[in-house]
């Protein structure tokens, strides 16, 4: 019984936690709540406070009463709800909800520990400790149970643990643990506190199922379930009032709907792809697919792989299905950090990495080409939008989309999934850090519009410092982790002679650095000495009283920052190669997966530096470039185009309104008028026939007699004619 055999515990622990909270502490919490005298009228705070928060999505409840208490609880923190995107602050969490969070966190800690053990077991190649030799090469299949077997078709619930899985396990459990921890502070006093932990746990379970799945069936189950938890968490504050018109802040109810349906659109392609593969090979299992697909028709296989990639496009918010991710920021910030930055959105990347042997080896080159160009284009596309956004989470959202684009590009250009996966690995940490940091800011000042910030560094040094680290990392500045994962993508693209992707990614690197530092300066700094980070006069443009967040929130920031730095430093010690070795089942890859000391690297880094300098120049030293661009007649439309996100949302809305609803109305009307018209018409026809025939019944005796004899005569003549007796 080695750790890897217990891998099912990794998802099982959060599941247990979820059930315990659902049926245990949450129930008690509801039970012990005082009954309110009357249901208070909902009140509105700061333009758009929520009211009557309740835990619709997961909470069974004995009486509607507790909502009222939630309401009162809410009103005390109402002002903090301003911005419509985040919950109450500084409220203290009662005992039972607190217990829920403790249960959640401890469960996650255990899973994380177990994952670490499994990593150790994998690294222990000679089986000195665990007596499992060379697990790294073979991996481990774990058969849980059968759904059913039909003839030779096998629908079974299997897990597979191999190096790729282990990496994902670590990322998911690690980041998830920190977010659980962080949320204790961030969600403090929120009426849906326990519900939050239930849904967070649900997400973790689903994500773990996704990465553990040994076949498309299990993977798809996890795939859809993370979609569900994303839906629930995005809509966590479903009861808030809509934000005022013109605000960049997304609104939960439509956002959650958008998130689910858009990804479903991708899943449509995904499912078709699965069906093609299944029909051709008769199996869902990834390992079997690697070999069985070789017999498949190349063109069909390529098509299938492209369709499968559609799923990734949806889940990882690539163009053109990226529109849901920015809106998904309507969820609480920890959720954005965990689901919509670090883990779930990376599922698409994981999917391609998981199927990389088929993509790279078996299927036609077109498949990977599609992946690569989509990724590269999306990277640039999202970056351009990020330049203009004012909502701090909005910028981060688009940067996420852009970085995911990098990952796909990386998968496409390299001969191994290492490059892309490594960027996923590093990105998970620094992007989570960025989001949690922004969350800490929002938590402090109750607003998320960067124009309402500035100079916060002096109030919240920890947050500022950690975010700076992340910003440098994402800008690809050595020695931070981002440099080690991002630069290889750019350089490999060049070495492969794929100049388009090279150009796109390179330019994107420049833009990334620019908008990230724009974000940093607008938030924490300003104009003046040291970018107004310290000293100088107060740069704060808002009206709240910012203060550093509690330890429970800053601690995860520090941990993540350390991770970013350490992974970066480890890079000098050939960590990249080690990662590659591990990911390739203990085989050393013969090509560079780390930036070498050559021109390309300098160009890559240079792009980043350039971006940073420009940002400093504009936002630190008042170079009025941005204002000029935004106002000049020539560039104004472009600025507007970017600011309005290329009007894609409007386009989709129009499509839905006109095409989908139009056709739907057509169906409904056809039913109502054509089909029912025929039905009712025929009924009316029968009655009409009756109405005509009944007129023959005149009531006059002699007509009846005439009918008798006339009828007899007609029949007689008919019979005679028929028998040929007459007229012959």
């Amino acid at each position: 019984m080695t750790p890897v055999d217990l891998v099912w515990l990794v998802p099982a622990l959060p599941l247990a936690a979820m059930l315990i909270i659902f049926f245990g502490t949450r129930m008690v919490e509801i039970a012990v709540q005082p009954r309110p005298a009357a249901v208070p009228a909902p009140t509105d705070h700061g333009g758009h406070g929520g009211h009557g928060p309740a835990d619709a999505a997961t909470t069974p409840d004995t009486e509607a009463g507790h909502d009222a208490t939630d309401q009162t609880a809410h009103t005390t923190h109402g002002a903090a709800a301003a911005g419509g995107g985040h919950g109450e602050h500084g409220g203290h969490t009662p005992f039972w909800p607190m217990l829920s969070s403790i249960i959640g966190v401890s469960a996650l800690l255990l899973s994380f520990a177990l994952s670490l053990l499994i990593l150790w077991q994998f690294l222990d190649v000679n089986g000195d400790v665990f007596h499992t030799k060379n697990l790294i090469a073979t991996g481990k299949d774990i058969h849980l149970y059968n759904w059913f077997t039909i003839g030779s078709l096998n629908y079974s619930i299997d897990f597979r643990v191999d190096t790729l899985t282990v990496v994902m396990l670590l990322v998911v459990t690690g980041v998830s643990t920190l977010v659980h921890l962080y949320s204790i502070g961030y969600m403090a006093g929120d009426p849906g506190y326990s519900r939050f932990y239930i849904e967070l746990a649900l997400f973790t379970v689903a994500m773990l199922i996704l990465v553990l799945g040994a076949n498309f069936l299990v993977l798809f189950i996890g795939w859809e379930l993370v979609g569900l938890s994303s839906y629930l968490l995005v809509g966590f504050w479903f009861y808030h009032n809509p934000p005022p018109p013109g605000s960049e802040v997304p609104y939960p109810p439509p956002a959650q709907l958008k998130a689910f349906v858009t990804t479903r659109l991708g899943d449509f392609g995904f499912l078709i792809g699965i069906l093609i593969l299944f029909t051709a090979t008769g199996t869902f299992n990834f390992i079997e697919l690697n070999t069985k697909t070789q017999a498949m028709d190349k063109g069909l296989l390529t098509l299938a792989m492209i369709l499968v990639f559609c799923g990734a496009v949806g889940k990882s918010a690539q163009f053109p299905l990226h529109v849901w991710l920015p809106d998904a920021m309507a969820g609480p910030t920890p959720v954005s950090a965990l689901i919509h930055a670090a883990t779930m959105v990376a599922a698409g990347v994981y999917l391609v990495a998981r199927l990389f042997p088929i993509y790279e080896g078996v299927a036609g080159p077109q498949a990977l080409a599609v992946v690569g160009y989509t990724g590269a284009f999306t990277a640039l596309f999202a970056a351009t939008i990020a330049l203009t956004q004012n909502d701090i989470k909005g910028v981060l959202a688009y940067s996420t989309i852009s970085q995911l684009g990098y990952m796909f590009a990386g998968l496409a250009v390299a001969d191994t999934n290492t490059v892309g996966m490594y960027h996923l690995f590093t990105h998970a940490f620094f992007k989570a850090l960025l989001f949690l940091g922004s969350g800490s800011v929002i938590h402090a000042i109750g607003a998320q519009d960067m124009r309402k910030m500035g100079g916060l560094a002096r109030f919240m040094p920890w947050t500022a410092g950690t975010i700076l680290v992340a910003t440098l990392a994402i800008s690809g500045i050595p020695p931070f982790s981002g440099f080690w994962s991002k630069d290889p993508i750019i350089t490999t693209a060049l070495e492969k002679g794929n100049y388009i992707i090279y150009g796109l990614t390179l330019f994107t690197a420049f833009l990334t650095a620019f908008y990230m530092f724009r974000l940093f300066i607008l938030t924490f700094g300003g104009q003046g000495s040291f970018l107004g980070l310290w000293g100088g006069h107060d740069q704060y443009r808002g009206d709240a009283h910012p203060r550093e967040s509690p330890r429970v929130m800053t601690f995860p920031l520090v941990v993540l920052a350390l991770a970013t730095i350490l992974i970066g430093l480890a890079g000098f010690a050939g960590f990249n190669q080690g990662f590659a070795w591990f990911l390739n089942h203990g085989v050393n890859v013969d090509f560079p997966v780390a930036p070498a000391l050559d021109a390309n690297t300098f160009i890559g880094v240079g792009a980043g530096v350039l971006g940073i300098l420009l940002a400093i120049a504009v936002y630190g030293y008042g170079l009025r470039l941005n204002v000029a661009l935004a106002s000049s007649a020539v560039t104004r439309p472009i600025y507007r185009l970017l600011y309005r996100r290329y009007f894609l949302d409007e386009l989709y809305l129009w499509l839905i309104r006109v095409v989908v609803l139009g056709l739907s109305n057509l169906c409904a009307l056809f039913d109502a008028y054509v089909i029912d018209g025929i039905v009712n018409g025929s009924a009316r026809a029968v009655r009409g026939l009756g109405n005509i025939t009944r007129r023959s019944e005149t009531g006059i005796l002699q007509n009846y007699g005439a009918a008798i004899f006339g009828g007899a005569m007609i029949i007689l003549i008919l019979v005679f004619v028929a028998t040929g007796a007459i007229g012959r």
Binding site: R694, R695, E697, T698, G699, I700, L701, Q702, G705, A706
Partner: protein, 115 residues
């Protein structure tokens, strides 16, 4: 020489005359009389057939031979006459009844019930 067909034609003509009367007269009693004519037409036909079969040594129209000593046709006619009388009496009673109620025996006006 008068053959069977003459009698048959006579019967048919009588029948049609009766029928015409039954369908055209408005007076219920007249209709009743017309019906009697129709019945008598039947009687003529029956008796004609009977005598014809007798003369042809019991050969029926379609060539089948039967015991020629029978007087079935005539007997049938007698029965018809008798029953017709009974029927007529009942009919007259009914006509009187309707006359009592409606003061008319014009069948054109006896049409309370229709459709």
């Amino acid at each position: 020489m008068i053959t069977l067909n003459h009698f048959l034609v006579l019967g048919a003509v009588l029948f049609v005359i009766g029928l015409f009367g039954a369908l055209s007269k408005r007076n219920a009693v007249a209709i009743l009389m017309s019906i009697e004519i129709m019945l008598n037409a039947v009687n003529v036909t029956l008796v004609a057939f009977a005598s014809a079969i007798l003369n042809h040594g019991g050969k029926a129209l379609n060539g089948a031979t039967v015991d020629s000593s029978r007087l079935t046709g005539q007997i049938f006619a007698v029965f018809i006459i008798t029953v017709a009388a009974a029927e007529a009496s009942v009919a007259l009673a009914m006509i009187i009844a309707i006359y009592r109620r409606r003061n008319t025996i014009d069948v054109g006006e006896i049409n309370l019930m229709r459709w």
